[in-house]
Symmetry: C2
Subunit: 205 residues, 2 copies
DNA sequence: GAACATTTTGACCAATCGGTCAAAGCGAGG
DNA sequence: CCTCGCTTTGACCGATTGGTCAAAATGTTC
């Protein structure tokens, strides 16, 4: 029963991971207020008091999820390399973000729920953490445009449009599938084709 | 105290409109399960039993809102004119949708909340009502592309991208403002510039 | 197997939820 | 004035909510 550097036993880490995963299921589907501790406990196959032995409150679980998410979520943007080929860097960013919508739709919806309802839990992070990163990368893109490596357009709205378009396929999955109909089994390949074309025409000199 | 054709007195219509507006405030901010009847009643300056005198239940208010919304929401798409100038028709559609995000952000968020959480209340409408309309308009756009009036790209994903990009400025308003910072008072003019450029480059032959 | 810390649980609590109901308030017509 | 139908309300209900607690179960260590 040794403590590791983080002060958690193996069992604790495993249970916390299980709870975190179950909570992601529930919160992303019903939003914070729409989710109940009982739902999460059931999804994690734990009793409610047992769950609250590992997390002090429902809000603590939610905060824990969001805190860990923000880093992962902006990672593709952080990887945008000022030294790389401008167009290829941005198209790679688009591909990475779309892959995240495909592979992490729950995280996308959790984030969407939070921002949609006013970002009350992560509002400060948006200003203190996300804004500086966007400013930095927008400056890089602006430089590329000034150098004539990309067609000019507002770099910050370019980033917004990448977020919006890629996350749409996770957050509005139900609508996308309803409109495309059952004959389209997987919308993501055609979505990638469309988005790569769109941003190529928008940026390629 | 005469009944009008809809079976409502003037007073009833006025109260129902007040409740509807208050409910739109509350539901769009907190989602369905996150909203309480007391909140809506307070926002409408009514007692809870009084509110439930006009609507039989919380769900009835929500359904009433969504039913009336869907028609309004897809109206700009319905106005897309097969006889008009292809590029100008689509750019007009973009402008109309963006104006709706600016002027009806609550409606946009109500819709986003609903779809994000699985579209349980309007799922059928998406398949039976929205899909046929998109199919019809996508065929028009496809024809334009086949005639060489627009650059080719998937028409249905083109429509998705218009929805996604325009609604982003309503649904993720908090994030947009946090990233742009307080020096940008109104993001919509620069958003319109960006989107018109984007879709022009995407479609203009 | 005794002693100890950790984990799990059933029972319970106060607060809040959506919704009901009988009674009171109210304006218009006679 | 009285009556009649529409509107409004305080009090209340059972169900569900997030969270507590003492006790039991389950390791772990010697």
């Amino acid at each position: 029963m040794k403590d590791n550097p983080a002060g958690q036993t193996r069992i604790q880490r495993h249970k916390i991971a299980t709870i975190t995963d179950a909570a992601l299921d529930v919160f992303s589907t019903h939003g914070f207020r729409g989710s109940t501790v009982d739902q999460i406990a059931k999804a994690a196959e734990l009793s409610k008091p047992n769950l609250l032995y590992y997390f002090p409150s429902k809000e603590a679980i939610h905060t824990h999820l969001l805190d860990n998410l923000l880093d992962i979520w902006v990672d593709p943007l952080r990887q945008l390399d000022p030294e790389g080929d401008p167009l290829e860097e941005i198209l790679t960013y688009v591909r990475r973000k779309l892959a995240m919508s495909r592979d992490m739709p729950r995280e996308s919806r959790l984030f969407a729920n939070e921002v949609l309802q006013g970002a009350q839990h992560i509002g400060d992070s948006l200003s203190n953490f996300l804004k500086p990163l966007v400013d930095e990368k927008a400056a890089v893109i602006q430089l590329w445009m000034d150098q004539g490596a990309l067609k000019p357009s507002d770099p910050r709205h370019l980033i917004f449009s990448i977020w919006s378009l890629t996350q749409h396929y996770a957050d509005f999955d139900v609508q996308v599938r309803a409109v495309l109909g059952p004959e389209v089994e997987d919308p993501f390949p055609e979505a990638e084709d469309y988005l790569i074309t769109l941003f190529s025409r928008q940026l390629k000199v």
